[in-house]
Symmetry: C2
Subunit: 203 residues, 2 copies
DNA sequence: TAAATAAACGGAGGCACCTCCGCTTTAGTG
DNA sequence: CACTAAAGCGGAGGTGCCTCCGTTTATTTA
């Protein structure tokens, strides 16, 4: 068996599959956009009919583009990761290396917040569609690595740390309970971590 | 935190929780009975309304007893395991040790068949409610162990095998694809295994 | 045995899911 | 442009989920 299922390949902005008609593309984009908001605010069980309505399309259109809820979740998730990785590049361009790293980590917290919301649905996806996990976690840690290395090379943070250590330090965010003050606590954790990283930097 | 959630404790026939009113107990039993059949034939996504109807109760009654689909699945699953373990004792009493073992393994195949049907829903349960898994897998392998040891002691099968090896041999059944002829193939596997076990027995 | 009360019942109703197919729009072609 | 085939749209409708609450029934008490 050459490839098993071909679940939801097209990441959309790369026209890898087939050129969509302009209106179809527009609708699809809006759906993903709205779904991302809804999933973030209401959890993955957000009503698909509501998503369709807010995107200004019929429920049929939603289902044509995303045959199951999981398809939609996957696309949103990939988009989230994509955004996170892009942000790393942009931040690196526009800020001093250590600031870029800090801002990115704050953004990472947002990302985790989304991911927690998606958790239940993702659990299913990640066991089924295991490439999804390796794909994305690889990309994310890659982004972090380049930020850390850049900051270290610029002397903005100490040189004796490995990006995987930093990643590991952020791990605390995952395991922390989902309390209402989770967001603030995580923010403080990032600041603290940055202090630790800056301490003893040569720059 | 002493105990986390207390999900669906009462296994029913042990009045561990609270004495139910006679009619309530009757309805509950019927629901579980019907659900077991329906899950087996239609998969875990069987319609709950249909289950209620066939059990001759209203949908409200079903939901009072089992607030979520998962609760119902869990009870059915536990009941399945219970039955399997009881069967081990009964068979051991009524048949020569090796025959008992063989019959039980055939029954084990049926059990797996159910479990596969339940797989999707169970996956969720088994990650959430981890005691469920350790509970049941312990009980099952315990039942198998006593059958194997009895047969070995009686000289009906060779003595140089461990029950965990037999368990492991049955593992092939799990991983085998879910083809239509799965049942027959599994049946033959059991026979084959028994031949292997009997070979060289002193009895 | 009759009355009182707590427990259980059941199904209507509201909401979400998803399919199906007649209608509309787009992107080519002459 | 006008025309047409293909692509896309959308929402009605059938089904299942789950809650809520007025009605029924088992059990207790007198």
């Amino acid at each position: 068996m050459p490839d098993q299922e071909m679940t939801a390949e097209a990441t959309r902005d790369a026209p890898s599959q087939k050129r969509l008609r302009a209106d179809a593309q527009r609708n699809r984009d809006r759906l993903v956009e709205v779904a991302a908001q809804m999933f973030a605010s209401d959890g993955v069980d957000a009503s698909l009919e509501e998503i369709a309505k807010r995107a200004g399309v019929g429920i049929g259109t939603l289902y044509r583009h995303f045959p199951t809820r999981e398809h939609l979740v996957e696309v949103v998730y990939r988009r989230e990761v994509e955004g996170l990785c892009h942000a790393a590049e942009d931040l690196a361009r526009e800020h001093p290396a250590d600031v870029a790293l800090e801002l990115w980590m704050q953004r990472f917290v947002d990302y985790i917040a989304t991911k927690r919301g998606l958790a239940t649905s993702l659990r299913l996806l990640l066991t089924t569609n295991s490439t999804l996990f390796s794909d994305t976690s690889g990309r994310v840690s890659g982004a972090m690595r380049s930020l850390v290395q850049a900051a270290a090379a610029a002397g903005k943070i100490r040189a004796d740390v490995d990006s995987s250590d930093v990643m590991h330090a952020l791990g605390g965010i995952y395991s922390a309970p989902n309390t209402p003050d989770w967001r603030e606590r995580s923010g403080r954790l990032v600041k603290l971590l940055m202090d630790g990283l800056r301490f003893g930097a040569r720059g």
